[in-house]
């Protein structure tokens, strides 16, 4: 049976380095299988997060040969096995141990985004009516499995560490899903422009490329939000209008 070498980052917040492990390669195997194999037979304390093993929960995010990916959806037959497969934790978040990072920042950010606020029900029985075509685009955003790979790859976070001024692609998608929800009545544009830093995004589309759910993050979520912000704040007519109605915002 064929063998492959896995160069896995071992260590914690204080530091660490790559260590090589050999694992057998069987048909259909994914990187997470190899990591489990190594865990069961060679390194029982090798730390890794995982749950569904089917690309639905977004737990096993890592960088495989330098690319942000889900370990459970990365097939070995799509990787060159003549050289070691490197597996390392996401770079953007503080390291905890081995492949596990501290992603708690994401959970804190989400609480800062104003929650869903529906309009009054359409029918006397307290229900609403929505057409499928109106929910389609929001359903795309709600496919998000919160793997945070888009956050990992985004240079505003990864290189420039703007954690206090920028919420990252995941939460623009989240905000877009709320803003474009047919029933929602909340307004999140002020925060998006100021505290949440949508202006920092310069549309390099790296987030879209790594999204395992193929959500068109930049084109369908971020750019329309940017346009709304621009319409609201920088459109000359709107500004003129606001000069006479300063209370409007």
């Amino acid at each position: 049976m064929a063998k492959a070498t896995f160069r896995i980052w071992r260590g914690d917040a204080k530091g660490g380095g790559f260590q090589d492990y050999e694992s057998e390669v069987t048909a259909g195997m994914v990187v997470l299988d190899a990591v489990h194999e190594i865990q069961a037979n060679q390194a029982p304390d090798l730390a890794v997060r995982w749950n569904c093993k089917a690309g639905k929960c977004g737990s096993c995010s890592a960088e495989i040969n330098g690319m942000p990916k889900l370990m459970c959806m990365t097939r070995l037959n799509q990787l060159p096995l003549d050289k070691p497969v490197t597996v390392e934790p996401m770079h953007t978040f503080p390291r905890i141990k081995d492949l596990v990072t501290d992603v708690s920042w994401n959970f804190r950010v989400k609480t800062q985004i104003k929650p869903f606020k529906p309009r009054k029900p359409d029918a006397p029985d307290g229900t609403w009516r929505m057409a499928q075509q109106d929910v389609n685009r929001v359903q795309e955003f709600r496919k998000c499995i919160e793997c945070f790979l888009c956050q990992d790859v985004c240079h505003v976070l990864r290189e420039h560490h703007q954690y206090d001024q920028f919420i990252g692609p995941r939460f623009f998608v989240y905000a877009a899903a709320l803003e474009m929800h047919p029933l929602d009545t909340e307004d999140r544009l002020t925060e998006l422009r100021k505290a949440q830093g949508i202006g920092f995004c310069n549309i390099t589309k790296c987030c879209t490329k790594v999204c395992p759910e193929s959500i068109t993050i930049t084109d369908n979520a971020i750019i329309p939000l940017k346009e709304r912000v621009v319409d609201d704040y920088y459109d000359p007519l709107t500004r003129l209008f606001k000069m006479f109605r300063p209370a409007a915002r």
Binding site: P44, G55, C57, P115, T127, Q132
Partner: protein, 603 residues
């Protein structure tokens, strides 16, 4: 007592899947403080994997549907071992629970007139499952999560509970550790809700993730609560079988709901060969009628592929055993054939079953719009769980509640697809409501420091042993043994053999050792989970021995028929004074006349 990081909540909820989150929202709405402990990160629980939908008789697609039909479908599916009051409450309350999700931001697929769309599913008479493509569970957990984080609930992520703490017969807290640093945490609470899900990790081929080691079942059992219906483990008929690395991953019943058919290697639609008498009147007798049913023809009866899961799984096992299986030991599930019926079938399949398309394409190099899938049964769900009061979800131990998969009673001998998500919502809400009420009526109890120290000591033992066995092999051997001896088809002598193996495995687990330190150490976590797995495995095996008949998900090769004598009780398990597992027959509760009448009418 050593110093432990201590948290106080009025209500402590263990588990953050659908039931746990729904309970947390309800309890916090009642004005008590709430803490939620979850083994994984928030939003990753197994609810996320639920694909098909939430069963609720909204009657948006077929106006003949109502709670009575849903009730009688659920009872029939459970072979009448369900607790009728739970089935009644579930059927009555599910529609409101679904509409509530919409008010919290969930976006279900829509009907032509803009209401929530519903789809067909096995054992449901009418299209009943509110859904979002085939990712309904994700929509549900995300909606509950995003609603819940604004409710002042404290979330303790990646924290595992080791034991429940009692004071004067009542549960007053829990003790566990956080995965990240391996530090112990003490939780003091006036009421505790278990919402820990299932036991799927006791089996080798399973759709369940590492978390599902029967924690809630085991915690409750060791705290003195009763377990019920543990012989009923649901093997979902359609799990992936190839390649080996994906074996067991779920293939939604929605594939069959959308017209998918099961065939053997001869191309025969074998499900037409064996239709149980209980369902004869409701099942199509030719493929054409079955197809019309999946396309919404109200005068057509459902195809046999949509019979209950226990039956479909057994038919598949029969085909495989008799040599008519697919190359990798499964049978074929084909949705691509609908191109004979629909002009743009490929697009239709991708729209209706996007994550199935994705899953097969990416993991198996199979394009389900063009070729059949290979599938076989996978351990999916346990009908058995903590025995609870139907109204309040409280167990026999005061202050201890259970909801969702770790509770028992709603599903009887077999759960219908779609009834799980609705179960989580209906009884999650009830557990939260009544746990909050209990907390308001009771003061804080005292946690016993000696008990806590003992739990801490015992948890650290694997580090102190030198060069003993590692936990992964023990877990693997347990899973293999359960799969072979306590699986879909059971025999008396094999079940007794399983008990012997369990004793040996318990001995090995008692000597397990782990290297490394306490920080995020999966070896240690696996070692600690073994106790729970062993407890629930023993409960399943013992109950399976006692039920000498075949009913629902429990199939005995040596007693292949249903036996009326066994239709009158549930099996209840409790820890005896000697620490051994005690089993007794609990007569079914008396069913009120009006419910009996409903069942009669719907026959």
């Amino acid at each position: 007592m050593a110093e432990y990081e201590t948290h106080q909540h009025d209500v402590l909820i263990i588990g953050a899947g659908g039931a746990g989150l729904r309970a947390a929202i309800e309890a916090s709405a009642a004005g008590v403080t709430v803490g939620v402990v979850s083994k994984s990160l928030l939003g990753k629980a197994h609810t996320v994997m639920a694909e098909g939908g939430i069963a609720a008789s909204l009657a948006n697609v077929d106006d003949r549907d109502n709670w009575k039909v849903h009730f009688s479908d659920t009872m029939r599916g459970g072979q009448y071992l369900n607790q009728p009051r739970m089935a009644e409450l579930h059927a009555k309350e599910a529609p409101d629970r679904v509409r509530e999700l919409e008010a919290w931001g969930a976006l279900f697929d829509r009907t032509q007139d803009g209401r929530i769309l519903q789809r067909n599913f096995g054992g449901h008479k009418y299209p009943r499952l509110a859904h979002v493509g085939d990712r309904t569970g994700l929509e549900m957990i995300r909606t509950l999560q995003d609603h819940g984080i604004h409710r002042g609930i404290d979330f303790h992520m990646e924290t595992t509970i080791l034991t429940l703490l009692k004071d004067d017969g009542r549960v007053v807290g829990a003790f566990g550790y956080d995965r990240e640093r391996g530090r112990f945490r003490l939780f003091q609470a006036k009421a505790v809700v278990l919402a820990t899900g299932g036991i799927g990790r006791a089996y080798q081929i399973t759709s369940n993730s590492w978390e599902y080691t029967g924690d809630g079942h085991s915690l409750a059992y060791h705290a003195g609560a009763e377990l019920m219906d543990m012989e009923f483990v649901q093997f979902h008929p359609t799990g992936m079988v190839w390649p080996p690395s994906v074996r067991g991953i779920l293939v939604t019943e929605g594939v069959r709901g959308e017209g998918g058919i099961l065939t053997n290697k001869e191309g025969r639609r074998f499900m037409f060969d064996d239709i149980p008498p209980l369902y004869k009147n409701q099942t199509a007798d030719n493929p054409e009628e079955g197809w019309r049913y999946t396309q919404g023809d109200k005068n057509a009866r459902r195809p046999p592929e949509l019979l209950t899961r226990d039956h479909v799984a057994r038919c598949i096992v029969r085909e495989i055993r008799e040599g008519r299986g697919s190359p990798h030991g499964g049978v074929f599930l084909d949705i691509s054939w609908i191109k004979q019926k629909l002009p743009n079938a490929a697009e239709h399949i991708k729209k209706k079953l996007p994550s199935m398309y994705h899953q097969f394409k990416q993991l198996a190099d199979i394009d389900i719009t063009r070729e059949p899938m290979e599938i076989g049964p996978t351990t999916h769900y346990v009908m058995g769980g903590v025995r609870v009061d139907a109204e309040t979800q409280m167990s026999s131990v005061p202050g201890l509640f259970a909801a969702g998969e770790c509770g028992a009673g709603l599903h009887g001998a077999n759960r219908l697809g779609g009834n799980s998500l609705s179960d989580l919502l209906v009884f999650g809400k009830r557990a939260g409501e009544f746990a909050a009420k209990f907390a308001k009526e009771h003061g804080a109890g005292l946690t016993n420091p000696d008990e806590v120290d003992a739990a801490a000591c015992s948890a650290l033992e694997p580090f102190e042993r030198q060069a003993a066995e590692a936990p992964y092999q023990i877990q693997h051997d347990l899973q293999e043994m359960m799969q072979n001896l306590v699986g879909i088809v059971r025999r008396e002598e094999e079940l007794h053999e399983a008990l012997k193996h369990l004793a040996a495995l318990r001995e090995r687990a008692g000597k397990v050792s782990v290297p490394g330190n306490r920080e995020y150490n999966p070896g240690w976590h696996t070692a600690l989970d073994l106790r729970n797995l062993l407890t629930v495995s023993e409960a399943v095996a013992r109950a399976a021995i006692e039920r000498k008949e075949s009913r629902g998900a429990h199939f005995r090769d040596d007693y292949p028929a249903k036996d009326d004598a066994f239709s009158k009780f549930n099996l209840v398990i409790q820890k005896g004074a000697d620490g051994e597992m005690q089993l007794r027959r609990e007569p079914l509760p008396q069913m009120p006349e009006e419910l009996k009448q409903i069942i009669e009418e719907m026959k």
